[in-house]
Amino acid sequence: MKPFAYARPSDVAEAVREVAAEPNAVFLGGGTNLVDHLKLGVARPDLVVDVRTLTSREITDTGDGGLLVGAAVSNSELAADRRVRERWPVLTQALLAGANGQLRNLATVGGNPLQRTRCVYFQDVTTACNKRAPGSGCSAIGGYTRYHAILGASEQCIATHPSDMAVALTALDAVVHTEGPRGARTIPFGELHRLPGDDPSRDTVLEHGELVTAVELPPLEMARRSTYRKVRDRASYAFALVSVAAAVDLADDGTVRDARVALGGVAHTPWRATRAEEVLRGRRLTDDTARAAAEAELADAVPQPGIDGGNAFKVPLVARTLTAALRILTGREG
């Protein structure tokens, strides 16, 4: 581990100033991802600015049926909130599908969506990785691709975003509140993360020194009928192979009036499945509809060959997982 300076500023403005002033500075939230990366030598900051106590730990009603969740609220606290459980069950389920109890107690709402994309080669400093060492190459392509992207990848990077919570927040059209060197702003959750393109070193659109202060959950009546279905290689404590966050608004005759679908485990970002949503709207919710929606979303999917057969299985698995998720929402067998 490389030595670094540690600062504990007294407020958000000071924290932003300190990170903005030091090109090689990072914010520390719960530390569930950063501390790992410090130990592995993946993150090599000169300055670590601890913001855990600076942002709000409150979950407040916004007055319009939405919630404003302070960035320092832990994943456990958010998952347990009665309002969230009743009005956005997909979010509680996604939170509880991630990591384990100890990690969820540490992880924060502000930090969890900002964890780095996950890839065994990114985490191993003895291998080439364009994200960690721009221009060094991508070891994942043709390597161990089981957990890698089938959508939106580039020749520079095929890693996937690991946050379960972020998949739910993407489906729910959450809004991120930030404060940065250029002041405060809001970012639609679906625009927070970025595809790797030619610069995989950046996972989000946040500027250097820009701190997430809160996440806003806008009112969404259909989210009361929502679910998170995560498929992984063991029953708990594993990253998603594929996950689906889904909410539907069903007419009395079973026709889909509106739908929200986001996918995890398939791309460098939580993946909002707008094409799938379009297919679902106006149709009755059957397995065939679910398959058609998945096929539309995956029309441009590019599976990655690799060790143990690569990740082509994710293409049918997305369709099957979406089918299973939508079955849950219509009360059919799980």
């Binding site: 080669y121 063991r234 099957r320």
Partner: protein, 699 residues
Amino acid sequence: MTELLEPRAMGRDLVRRDGVRKVRGTATYAFETPVESPAFCHPLQATVARGRITAVDTTAAEALDGVLAVVTHENAERLASTDDAELAVLQSPEVAFRGQPIGVVVAETSELARQAADLVRVTYDEQPHDSVLSADRGDLYAPEKVNPGYDTDTVQGDVDAELAASAVRVEQTYATAMVHNNPLEPHASTALWDAADGGKLTLWDSTQGVHPDRKAVCSLFGLDLERVQVVCPYVGGGFGSKGTPHANVVLVAMAARALPGRAVKLALTRQQMFTMAGYRTPTIQRMQLGADRDGRIRALALDVVEQTSRIKEFAEQTGVPARMMYTAAARRTTHRLAALDVPVPSWFRAPGECPGMFGPEVAMDELAHALGMDPVELRIRNEPDRDPETGQPWSSRHLVECLREGAERFGWAGRDPRPGVRREDGWLVGTGMASSVYPTMRQAQSTATVRFEDGRYVVEIGAADLGTGAWTVLPQIAADALDADVDDVEVRIGDTRYPIASVAGGSSGTNTWGSAIVEAARQFRGKFGRRPEDGDEAQGSVDQAATDDEHATYAFGAQFVEARVHADTGEVRVPRLLGVFACGRIVNPRTARSQFIGGMTMGLSMALHENSAWDARIGQVANHDLAEYHVTVNADVGDVQAHWIDEHDPYVNAMGIKGIGEIGIVGTAAAVVNAVFHATGVRVRHLPVTLDKILPGLP
């Protein structure tokens, strides 16, 4: 035949003597050994899979304040013995696999050692490497023997002719994955080289045997036995990976000798566990079974292909259990190896028996299906009355009883054999079973001392407790051997100060050490009678591997599994595992049950999860941490039941016991695969059973 001890303390479910210390955190593990101002080590590892080091620049590392030593092949001491290429580290610039230790940094803190290790610049003359195992390689070879000394190949009768004459044949290739032991406690040591008086090394090491560990260290460094003391009261899991010393032990000893008078500590990181601590080779098992319509096996052949490292051979004895498990008119087993540019494989959770009961036990299920016969019945029908390999009678064999009792307890009767026809709430449901076996082994050397001290019996033996229960069960054996109250017996283990004891491996520990203790107790009572005086002391030894060479000695078992496979996603859940074992007398039901269900859980892990994803392009395990290398977690484990039958075996030893440490894992994975087939109709022949292998076969 031996006269069995009267069990009074044996058979009682006494609580673990070390339990409270472990729960309270006062049990001291190797790395935690309290020593004055220790220094810390971090290994340097090769980043090429094959080649030669051309330069090492340690300037920046050594310039850091607090770095005490950087030892590489350029300045390391020359070892007295380099016969074992895995242990002959830092002796040359040659690199034989990626991750091979090429140096060790010693510093005031572990963080500093790691930082300094990052600053060492190594340049290589990199050479092409080859690490792809396949059954088609042209350079496969037959080792002289397979672990630990079995014949490489065996042939009985004319397999081809019997196969041709068989009404039903199963000819399939099965594969088990490369897997790495990851005990909770990584390989770790504290070492102190006292230069005074000619030099003495004290090594607190996490090991499955302090005496074998000491012997290896003495041989490597050219030291007399009395100049090395190895101490290891507690082990946080070994599973074979601590049965032989690995390179970390050499590194820590070198570091200690480079800093006389200063204790040094070294613990492998989780990632380093994937290069330095041994692993199970992937196995490729070509299986041929031929049978008559009534299920009697005519031909049984198992041809195994595995890997070893280019620098040191380890030949896993995967074909061995097929030699004795069932009757067959003709039989063949073979082992072929590829020597690759890979880390050195070694012992891993029931080497041989565990992978070797995968292919054959799945093939038996396939045969039963092809015959339209119940798989339990097929096994009973091929029960041999003598060891098919040697012709010897069994000391005891109660496989059929295990099968029947297991079937009864599990609710096997009336099972609908059709695959893929049961669906509950979106999950396809099936059941499967397999047999288990493990040889009853005793090591050839162990000695125990019994001494009467302050009104109590003190038993000393340099044995090891891997967390399995030796601290608890050895006093039970000693109490019965002495005809004393178990509370009046104290057993001391885990230190080379105590008499020599064999490695805790091959499920032989309790058998071997217990036999030595029984002998010591007999000597003691013979000399001092029932009224000894303070300080009276006697020794007893085991000096041959078996008490009886006229019988085939094995433990047997049967495992039953319920599997559920999600009809959409292919996710596999195993809500029920049930095993029944015949392992002679059970010394302590509490620790025994823990070992059985632990083994079965490891079998579940092997079946569904464990897989070292080998990246042959760079020559390393890609998923080398516990986030990516999956072991079964609590949520994967449902109802696990271990039962045993009351087995009386007068031939194995005076305690009437067989080993129980490893049989629990044997057969489990096959039973899971067989249950998944019954649930879905999809036969997965390559472990682990991950959903991508099932999806193509689901509707």
